[in-house]
């Protein structure tokens, strides 16, 4: 077993760890004192401290969920819940410490891209260290900051929406995040403003035994639109690490939010994320969600279709390598009439990897003329690979059109032979097939992410051929 674990980690390209430059961290484990100390350190208003403590209470009362992936390896007492890497927020790149810059260099984020993009909010440990907002965004009244700044500088707006989509008592891990959250992004797009450049954030865990509990809140006001992108890659550590984020989206009347994620956690990370959106009248919410790496991922981006004519789009891709379990899926809750949802899931299992699709479609009694389409396809690369589908449907209105298709397939010998007969090596042929399988997902990604994902998949294929 130990040998196998070593095998798994050795080819993890981003498995490096820079010198820990942390300047403040709470004691290991979880207690009201730890929570209070986080809040105090951030100089938060009283209501937030109360919110956190109440959430901690919920967390302690909730049992561990047992309906999904195996979480028995999690030890909540062996985790730092808050680490603050630098004293002050850096607004200029020059102010960012060199060791942190090196980390970004090794992640391969090109300098040109940093300047080109609207704002790069790079989360290093629990705190945002670098943050820039392009001037034209500011002129349009778009707010884009880390969540702590959002709370400090726009408290009224922040408080109006914070925790309204995912209340602290929603589930155990949402409660945990609510108690110890730190960092993440806060975005507000005013009425009618269309943000044409994607807002991006890079996240990174970089401290042994440190959980990352970022909190993202995005509000798109009436008739506005925004595309938010987060990409993650984590360094490799020997002991288990926990990532438990909460992402709340609110799309007001006629607004559109697209939220793109590519996560590539190192294979010791428990990635337990709650993502949920509210789509009001004629609003559109799109989750584009790619999950690679991690030990266990449980993530089901959801959309509550609250207003007539609202539309939800969820496109997810998961890759489970040796020893990994990707338990992912999606939820669409149709509350209002004439709402539509389209869910597409693609997953690949390699070696002893396991993927699960877990979906929930709910249509409430008043939601007539609802259209739902669910399609999930799984590809198995090896004999021992595994994939399961758990589709749940609660339909309380007869006036609904639902399409559900699911397939599980294996990489065929004939496909490999066809490609190799053109001179392509077996390994490259497998990578082509795998990339092709993810193509419907990849083509939704901005170019640089598409390239990176294809590269990561190709790396994951190395050694796939005996």
């Amino acid at each position: 077993m130990a040998i196998q674990a070593k095998e798994l980690t050795k080819d993890y390209q981003f498995g490096f760890s820079d010198i820990d430059v942390s300047v403040f961290r709470t004691a290991k484990g979880l207690s009201p004192e730890v929570v209070a100390s986080i809040s105090q350190h951030k100089d938060e208003p009283e209501w937030m401290l109360k919110f956190r403590l109440k959430a901690l209470d919920h967390f302690r009362k909730r049992p561990m969920p047992t309906w999904g992936a195996d979480l028995s390896g999690l030890d909540f007492e062996n985790i730092y819940y808050y680490v603050k890497p630098v004293e002050e927020m850096s607004r200029s790149w020059d102010d960012v410490p060199d060791s942190i810059k090196q980390t970004f260099d090794r992640l391969g984020i090109p300098q040109a891209e940093r300047q080109f993009l609207a704002g790069v909010s790079a989360q290093y440990d629990s705190e945002v260290v670098y943050h820039s907002i392009r001037e034209d965004l500011e002129k349009q009244g778009v707010l884009f900051s880390d969540c702590d700044t959002g709370l400090r500088e726009h408290e009224e707006l922040f408080r109006k929406y914070f925790g309204t989509v995912i209340p602290p008592n929603d589930n155990k891990f949402a409660a945990l995040n609510s108690a110890v959250w730190s960092g993440g992004s806060f975005v507000y797009v005013p009425k009618g403003v269309k943000v044409d450049i994607p807002l991006q954030a890079y996240f990174r865990i970089n401290s042994d035994n440190m959980g990352q509990f970022e909190r993202t809140l995005i509000i798109a006001d009436e008739g506005s639109s925004v595309h938010y992108i987060e990409g993650c890659t984590a360094p490799n550590y020997s002991s288990d690490s926990l990532h438990s984020a909460v992402v709340e989206l609110i799309a007001h009347k006629g607004a559109k939010i697209r939220y793109t994620t590519i996560q590539n956690w190192s294979d010791n990370v428990y990635n337990l994320v709650t993502k949920r959106a509210i789509a009001n009248e004629n609003a559109t919410v799109e989750w584009i969600d790619g999950n690679l790496g991690s030990k266990v991922t449980m993530k089901y981006p959801s959309v509550y279709l609250m207003g007539e004519g609202a539309h939800a789009e969820v496109m997810s891709a998961a890759f489970a390598g040796n020893g990994q379990h990707q338990d992912a899926g999606s939820k669409a809750i149709h509350v209002a009439p004439n709402t539509t949802s389209n869910i597409v899931s693609r997953s690949i299992s390699k070696g002893t990897g396991r993927t699960s699709y877990r979906g929930h479609i709910k249509v409430l009694p008043k939601a007539h003329n609802v259209k739902v389409s669910v399609r999930c396809d799984a590809l198995l690369l090896d004999e021992e690979s595994r994939s399961d589908t758990y589709p749940y449907m609660d339909i309380d209105n007869p006036d609904v059109t639902i399409g559900h298709e699911a397939s599980v397939s294996k990489v065929g010998e004939d496909q490999i032979f066809y490609l190799t007969s053109r001179g392509i090596t077996e390994q490259d042929a497998t990578a082509l097939i795998v990339n092709g399988f993810f193509e419907p997902f990849v083509k939704e990604l901005p170019m640089e992410y598409a390239v990176e994902l294809n590269r990561l998949l190709a790396l994951s294929m190395e050694g796939a051929i005996g």
Binding site: G412, E413, D414, Q415, F417, Y418, L419, T420, S421, R422, G423, I424, T425, E426, D428, A429, L432, I433, N435, G436, F437, F438, E439, P440
Partner: protein
């Protein structure tokens, strides 16, 4: 000495434990067009797959050289890189992999990569010749193609990859008269001193377009007779029976 590109001698092969090829002898000289005919079940397609190196086809005896090199120890991709090409009877769909990406990957693998502009120009030209719509560039390879479209796509790959020897495995099957002409014209345009063809068929019709230098008849896993183009005409007139009758009698 000989300018043979392909030399098969005493080739035996099994599929799932059953012997299909029972000692095939066949020589194809550089730049020649050879036809391999024979009734259903004679082993024609097995020979094609065996030559290309499909893992299901197990060689149990004999030898094959290609361009002077021993072909049999090589994997399919290595055989392709030596310049062997198989036009599939039933090409496989690869969803998500576009024609353009697939062709670029194949050219790169064979060390025949060219600048993007040149590649696209050539692709455009070849597609026009084969009457393939431009939209097929971004279509996923063979995914949802009709039988005729798949065959044209095979010839397009042939045209882009320019192998030393192309094996056409029943490329004519399922084609209407016009499609057959397009495909055959495509092959004729490509073959010459640098590219030979081994066309496998049981209908002589395609041979009217391809004008083979030699015609071989395969029966029960062996080449039982060889001749010129008139052998194909005789088969068209009289069927296989008279030929096989004498051949089988001769070997019995």
């Amino acid at each position: 000495m000989s300018q043979e590109v392909l030399s098969i001698s005493g080739l035996r092969a099994t599929v799932e434990g059953k012997e299909i090829l029972k000692g095939v002898d066949l020589q194809v000289a550089q730049g020649e067009i050879h036809a391999l005919m024979g009734p259903n079940g004679s082993g024609k397609s097995t020979l094609a797959y065996t030559l290309m190196g499909h893992p299901k086809y197990v060689v149990t005896g004999g030898s094959v050289t290609f361009g002077g090199e021993d072909l049999l120890p090589l994997t399919a991709d290595a055989r392709a890189r030596l310049g062997l090409f198989l036009c599939f009877q039933y090409p496989t769909a690869i969803p998500g992999v576009s024609t353009v990406n697939f062709l670029r990957a194949a050219l790169r693998a064979q060390g025949k990569e060219m600048p993007a502009r040149e590649f696209l120009n050539r692709l455009s030209t070849e597609m026009k010749e084969l009457k393939i719509d431009e939209s097929f560039r971004s279509r996923y390879i063979n995914d949802g193609f009709s039988g005729g479209e798949k065959k044209r796509m095979e010839i397009l790959q042939l045209a882009m990859l320019r192998p030393k020897l192309a094996i056409l495995d029943e490329t004519d099957s399922g084609l209407d008269v016009d499609a057959l002409r397009t495909v055959a014209d495509g092959v004729m345009r490509l073959c010459g001193p640098d590219m030979g063809v081994l066309v496998i068929t049981h209908y002589p019709r395609i041979l009217e377009h391809l004008h083979p230098d030699r015609v071989h008849v395969l029966h029960d896993g062996r080449v039982v007779t060889s001749g010129g183009a008139d052998l194909a005409r005789q088969i068209e007139r009289e069927g296989y029976e008279p030929i096989l009758g004498t051949a089988v009698a001769a070997t019995a």
